[in-house]
C-alpha cells in the first residue's frame, strides 16, 4: 500500500510539473510536427514507396521525439536537485524508476496518439482504420525504448554532454525493439494476420520484459551518489 502511495505521489509530481511547465509534451509535439513536415517534403505523399516505408518513418518519428522527452525527464530533477529531495524519503529506488517510467510512458504515448492522425494527414497513410491493432504495438514498442531510455536518461543527466549521450546509448540498445515494432506495424498496415508477425511480436514482448526488469533492478545503482 505504501509503495502505491509513493508511486502515486511520484507520478502526480511529474504530471503537475508538466501541467505547470508544459515543456516536455509541447516540445515533443513540435518536434514531431517538424519531422512529419520534413518527411512530407522529402517523399511524395501518394507514392507507393511511402506506403512501404511508412512504418519505419512512424517509428523514427516516435524515437526522435521520444529521446527529447526522455532527456527532459531527469534534466529538471538535476536542475532543481529535486531527485536528492526524493531520495531522502524511504522510497525504494525501484519505485522512483517506476514513477519516472510511467510518467515518460504517459507523455510519450500522448504525443504518439496525437501524431497518428497527423501522420495520416501529412503522409496520406491510413493508420486510423488499423488503430485497434496498432495501439498494442504502439504500447509495446514504447514500453521497450522507454524502459531503457528512463535508465539511460538517469545515467546521462550526470554527464557533460547529456543531450548527445542519451541517443548514443539508447538507439543501439533499442534497435531490436524498434525493428520488431516496425515489422509488426508494417504487417498490420498490410492487413496481414497476426501469425505472420507473431515472431516479431514475441521479440518485442521479450525485449520489453528483459529490459524493463533489468532497468528496474539496476536503477538503484545509477542513482547512488
Amino acid at each position: 500500500m505504501r509503495h502505491l502511495s509513493q508511486l502515486s505521489a511520484l507520478l502526480r509530481k511529474d504530471i503537475l510539473i508538466e501541467l505547470k511547465s508544459r515543456e516536455t509534451v509541447i516540445s515533443m509535439l513540435l518536434f514531431s510536427l517538424l519531422v512529419l513536415l520534413v518527411f512530407n517534403f522529402a517523399f511524395e505523399a501518394d507514392s507507393a514507396a511511402i506506403k512501404k516505408i511508412s512504418p519505419g518513418l512512424l517509428w523514427i518519428t516516435f524515437l526522435f521525439f521520444g529521446v527529447l522527452g526522455l532527456n527532459r525527464s531527469f534534466t529538471l530533477e538535476k536542475e532543481n536537485d529535486s531527485l536528492q529531495g526524493t531520495l531522502l524519503a524511504p522510497v525504494d529506488r525501484s519505485v522512483i524508476y517506476l514513477g519516472k517510467f510511467l510518467s515518460n510512458l504517459l507523455f510519450i504515448l500522448l504525443v504518439e496518439l496525437i501524431t497518428l492522425p497527423l501522420f495520416t494527414l501529412f503522409l496520406n497513410v491510413d493508420l486510423l482504420s488499423h488503430i485497434g491493432k496498432l495501439l498494442p504495438i504502439l504500447l509495446l514498442g514504447s514500453i521497450g525504448f522507454i524502459s531503457v531510455g528512463t535508465l539511460f536518461s538517469a545515467m546521462a543527466v550526470n554527464t557533460k554532454m547529456r543531450e548527445i549521450m542519451l541517443p548514443l546509448l539508447l538507439y543501439p540498445i533499442s534497435t531490436p525493439a524498434f525493428i520488431a515494432a516496425t515489422k509488426c506495424t508494417s504487417a498490420i498496415l498490410r492487413d496481414r494476420p497476426i501469425e505472420s508477425y507473431s515472431n516479431w511480436l514475441n521479440i518485442l514482448i521479450l525485449f520489453d520484459v528483459v529490459f524493463f526488469v533489468t532497468s528496474f533492478l539496476i536503477f538503484e545503482f545509477v542513482v547512488e551518489e
Binding site: 505521489a9 511520484l10 502526480r12 510539473i17 505547470k20 532543481n80 536537485d81 529531495g85
Partner: protein
C-alpha cells in the same frame, strides 16, 4: 531501543584519493540539541549525506535510534528529517503541494497529508503563502518551508543544515524560536550553522569537525570553560602612551583610541588583581568593560581558521 538518537562510529569516507572523513565518532542522545561546526570542506555535509543516505560511507557505522542507515534504510529514513542548505525541490510547486507530495513520498494517506500540511503551514506562518510557488517565496519563507517539509513525517531526528543562512535578523529569531519549540516537543536536533553565536545560543552540545576529524565535542558550557582568556577594556581618565612596568605581567595593548585592552588568563589572573595593579600604576579608570570568551574564539583556535564556520 538505543539511548542514542544518532550513533556514528569510526565513520570513514574517501572520494577517489580524497579522504573526506577520517573515522569520526559522534553520539547524540535523544532530545539533545547538537551543534555541528566546522570550516568549509571539513566534512559536515558528507556526514549529513551519509546519515540521510545520499552518500555511501566507505566504512564505519551510522545508526539512527539504533537502526542502521544502510542495512535498514527505509526504517532509518522515516526517523530522520533533513532541511538542506540548498533547496532540493521543484520550484514550480506552491507550499501546500510541496508538503503534500512530501507526505506522499513517506507513504502517508491522503487525509493524513491534508491534516499535517495544514498544521505545518499554520505552525510556520505559511498559511497565507500556501499557493505561492516556491520560487516566488522570500528567502525566509523558503527556509521555513524547507524546515516544514523536513517535519512533514514527524521525524524524531531533525537535521538542519544552515537553516538561517541568508535570513534577516528578525526571521532568524523566529526560526530559532521554532527550533527551540521543536526541541521542547522532544525532537532531537542536529544543527550545522556558520553563525557560531547561533550554536552558542541554541545548542546543548557541540562537535567541531576539521579536516574530516572531530577535534572537540561535548557539553557547550564545558567547552566554553576551555576559553581561558577574558578581555578587559579599560578607558583611562587621562591618555596613557606607554604600558607601565607594574602592568607588564599582563598581556596588554593600547588601542588607537588610547584604551588599554588586557587579555586575562582566567586560570592565573583575576580582575581584582588587575584593578589593584592599575591603582598602583596611578592610572585612573574612567570606564571598564569586560568581554567573555566566545565559542567563536574556541572554534578559531581549534580550527586555526580566520573565517567563520560554514
Amino acid at each position: 531501543m538505543s539511548e542514542y538518537a544518532l550513533e556514528i562510529r569510526n565513520l570513514k569516507k574517501t572520494y577517489d584519493n580524497n579522504v573526506a572523513l577520517k573515522g569520526i565518532d559522534l553520539l547524540i542522545k535523544k532530545g539533545e540539541f547538537y551543534g555541528f561546526l566546522g570550516p568549509n570542506g571539513a566534512g559536515k555535509t558528507t556526514t549529513i549525506n551519509i546519515i540521510t543516505g545520499l552518500t555511501n560511507k566507505t566504512s564505519g557505522s551510522v545508526k539512527v535510534f539504533g537502526i542502521d542507515v544502510v542495512d535498514d534504510y527505509r526504517r532509518a529514513r522515516r526517523l530522520v528529517g533533513l532541511s538542506p542548505q540548498e533547496p532540493n525541490l521543484d520550484f514550480f510547486f506552491p507550499a501546500d503541494t510541496v508538503l503534500n507530495l512530501q507526505g506522499g513520498y513517506f507513504g502517508m494517506s491522503s487525509s493524513e497529508r491534508k491534516t499535517r500540511t495544514e498544521e505545518l503551514l499554520e505552525y510556520f506562518g505559511l498559511t497565507e503563502h500556501r499557493k505561492k510557488p516556491f520560487r516566488k517565496l522570500s528567502g525566509g519563507l523558503k527556509r521555513r518551508l524547507l524546515i516544514a517539509r523536513a517535519m512533514m513525517h514527524k521525524p524524531k531526528l531533525l537535521i538542519l543544515d544552515e537553516p538561517t543562512a541568508g535570513v534577516d535578523v528578525e526571521l532568524r529569531k523566529k526560526i530559532w524560536d521554532s527550533m527551540l519549540e521543536l526541541r521542547e516537543n522532544g525532537t532531537t536536533i542536529l544543527l550545522t550553522t556558520h553563525y557560531i553565536e547561533e550554536a552558542e545560543e541554541l545548542c546543548d552540545k557541540i562537535a567541531i569537525i576539521n579536516n574530516g576529524k572531530i577535534i572537540r565535542d561535548g557539553d557547550k558550557n564545558k567547552l566554553m570553560e576551555e576559553i581561558q582568556y577574558q578581555e578587559i577594556e579599560v578607558t583611562p581618565a587621562s591618555p596613557v602612551t606607554e604600558i607601565p612596568e607594574s602592568l607588564k605581567e599582563y598581556k596588554c595593548r593600547i588601542t588607537k583610541s588610547k584604551k588599554l585592552v588586557f587579555s586575562l588568563d582566567k586560570k592565573k589572573q583575576s580582575i581584582s588583581r588587575l584593578l589593584e595593579a592599575l591603582v598602583n600604576s596611578s592610572i585612573e579608570v574612567a570606564d571598564l568593560k569586560t568581554k567573555s570568551g566566545k565559542l567563536e574564539d574556541l572554534f578559531l583556535r581549534l580550527t586555526g581558521s580566520t573565517a567563520t564556520a560554514s
